[in-house]
Symmetry: C2
């Protein structure tokens, strides 16, 4: 994915996941330095409806609004954060 495009797209995500991928709400996962392939797989799991219950109610609409390219760009961006 494209890190710069991911950074732009991450404006929405930052509300919960923090501006540098470290969230200040302990039930929202930190994303900083997470594996790119895992982030793609997790976002696709939300998008495909393979994650229900709990906070997935927040993530499913977010993921559903993302294109495959958005998902790759966001994954590249967050995995690049140190």
């Amino acid at each position: 994915g494209d890190i710069e495009a991911g950074k732009t797209k991450s404006a929405t995500c930052a509300a919960c996941h923090g501006s540098n991928g470290i969230s200040n709400v302990p039930v929202y996962p930190n994303l900083q330095g997470q594996h790119e392939a895992y982030l793609v797989s997790a976002l696709n799991a939300y998008k495909a409806g393979n994650r229900q219950g709990g906070l997935s109610a927040v993530m499913v609409p977010q993921a559903t609004s993302l294109s495959d390219q958005d998902i790759e760009d966001l994954a590249a961006y967050y995995s690049s954060l140190k």
Copy 2:
């Protein structure tokens, strides 16, 4: 949770998530320094069957074998790793 008990329990987890919570397989998430409450919520999501598809097939039996105390100890342990 109890960090020492979590460390002992994590022997199985280390196979995929790495001995210090950094996995060497990019589709397995890093757990080092992840939020304790998020780890508890994710493990319970697998245990409750709220995560399907993809690699959840690996995690569901793992989570199912864990007690609530195990889950709390593992979450405390992995969130304590720097």
